[in-house]
């Protein structure tokens, strides 16, 4: 995968979507699609060619955990890299996210360096 890849940023907070998009731009990824919740994200996934999903956990309609499970059970985009970016930092949360098969996990507030590190780590092992 190259840096021309398309990211899907899923967060119900417009502020957070913008911050994640800007952070992605700063580390060289400019092609970003936004979704406001899990259901919206699934629609966007159906519509276009997404290479990488960055999702929040707590969202209305469909949360990040449910979205991860939905993606993993999907025939076409079941193997997409998924990075969870959330305020939830409890042990149980991390275990639940890993059980749902997210590729990595970032706790908010994060820095662009951590975002870059996790993306690179996921892409290296993908």
């Amino acid at each position: 995968m190259s840096e021309a890849m398309t990211f899907l940023v899923v967060d119900d907070s417009p502020t957070m979507r913008r911050i994640v998009c800007n952070a992605l731009r700063e580390i060289g990824y400019t092609d970003v699609v936004e979704a406001s919740d899990g259901a919206d994200a699934l629609e966007k996934l159906e519509q276009g060619s997404i290479d990488f999903v960055i999702t929040d956990w707590n969202m209305p309609n469909m949360n990040g955990l449910e979205l991860t499970k939905a993606i993993r059970s999907h025939a076409r985009f079941g193997n997409l890299p998924i990075l969870m970016v959330t305020t939830r930092g409890m042990k149980e949360d991390v275990i639940a996210a890993m059980q749902a098969r997210v590729n990595n996990y970032i706790v908010k507030p994060f820095t662009p360096e951590v975002l870059r590190e996790k993306i690179n780590l996921i892409l290296k092992t993908a």
């Binding site: 907070s13 502020t15 952070a23 930092g89 409890m90 098969r101 996990y105 908010k108 507030p109």
Partner: protein
């Protein structure tokens, strides 16, 4: 009548006398109870009115919290807009000056080229002037480098400001959690008012929750020291290392508790659940059941004292520290 009968009669009379004596002693106490009940009746009525009044005010508090969230979101958006403009201007500035060092170098080279064809006799006369010009070029070069560093530094700082704005999302979740608690208290108070026999207020039931459950994290916090990320990384690594979650293997599970314990506490003595919980900031979040239990569930409603204790009394609003303590007791302890 025999002696035995007389003895029995005397014994019964003594018992009767004891009952009378007890009655005499109990009368003042019973009187006090009656007086107390008379006095407490208006107090109960006052408590009831106060409960109803507080319950009526709660939707306004919820609404104000929502307004705060909306206002901070608007302000954050404005700041982000400005950051975008500044970053764009810095990029344009950097781009417009990007060719300057090369142009300066070209000028220097041209001068050198001009210098050589000049007659030797001129060289001595122009030497001082040339040296001055070289110093000017060097100063200009240094200024350009300094300018580039300044632009890069400004860019980095603008990005830091942008990342710091994550605080808006985190505080919005904290406010949502407080709001959720207010709504829970309000519903419990409404039940209490009904149980006390007051008129049922039309607006006791909230039409809908302002912040739907599950859309916020009550434990959200703005913690920038990176220790939470380190703990999460350690756990993610442990889970991936001990039980790789193959995408082809649906049955693959996460690491066992023993494996996680071993990771966090060496191989000899596995960590206890409490210790692991301690690593992750103090256990599990408050469930609805726990909130229900606090307010007595269906059988015993919470007292006004309990509600006051939660909110720091009826007259003074809860401080941020008190709210933090409610949602994050361990952090509060460590700060104090």
């Amino acid at each position: 009548m025999t002696t035995n009968h007389i003895q029995e009669l005397l014994s019964k009379l003594n018992e009767l006398r004891a009952v009378f004596i007890l009655g005499q002693r109990a009368i003042p106490f019973i009187e006090e109870v009656v007086y107390f009940l008379r006095e407490i009746s208006p107090l109960l009525s006052e408590v009831n009115d106060s409960l109803a009044e507080s319950t009526r005010k709660m939707p306004r508090a919820s609404s104000q919290l929502k307004s705060v969230t909306q206002a901070t979101e608007m302000a954050t958006t404005e700041i982000l807009d400005l950051i975008d403009v500044v970053l764009s201007d810095l990029d344009a500035f950097k781009k417009s000056w990007a060719a300057a060092p090369e142009a300066l170098q070209a000028l220097q080279q041209q001068e050198e080229q001009l210098w050589h064809p000049l007659p030797e006799s001129w060289h001595e006369q122009l030497q001082t002037l040339l040296e001055e010009r070289r110093q000017h070029y060097a100063a200009l070069q240094a200024m350009l480098e300094s300018q580039q560093q300044l632009v890069d530094s400004l860019r980095e700082r603008m990005n830091r400001i942008m990342m710091a704005l994550q605080v808006q999302d985190i505080t919005a979740q904290q406010l949502a959690a407080v709001n959720h608690l207010i709504e829970s208290v309000r519903n419990r108070m409404a039940q209490l008012i009904r149980r006390l026999g007051s008129e049922v207020l039309d607006d006791l039931e909230l039409p809908r929750q302002l912040f739907a459950e599950g859309t916020f994290d009550p434990h959200a916090r703005y913690d920038r020291d990176g220790s939470r990320q380190q703990r999460v990384d350690a756990l993610v690594n442990a889970l991936q290392y001990t039980a790789p979650l193959s995408q082809d293997d649906e049955a693959a599970g996460p690491a066992s508790q023993e494996e996680i314990d071993a990771l966090f506490n060496g191989n000899s003595a596995p960590a206890s659940q409490d210790e692991i919980d301690g690593l992750f900031s103090g256990g599990t979040p408050t469930s609805q059941d726990e909130i229900d239990a606090l307010f007595g569930g269906g059988s015993t409603p919470a007292s006004q004292d309990e509600i006051d204790a939660l909110f720091g009394g009826g007259s003074t609003p809860a401080s941020q520290d008190e709210i933090d303590a409610l949602f994050n007791p361990k952090r509060n302890d460590s700060n104090s």
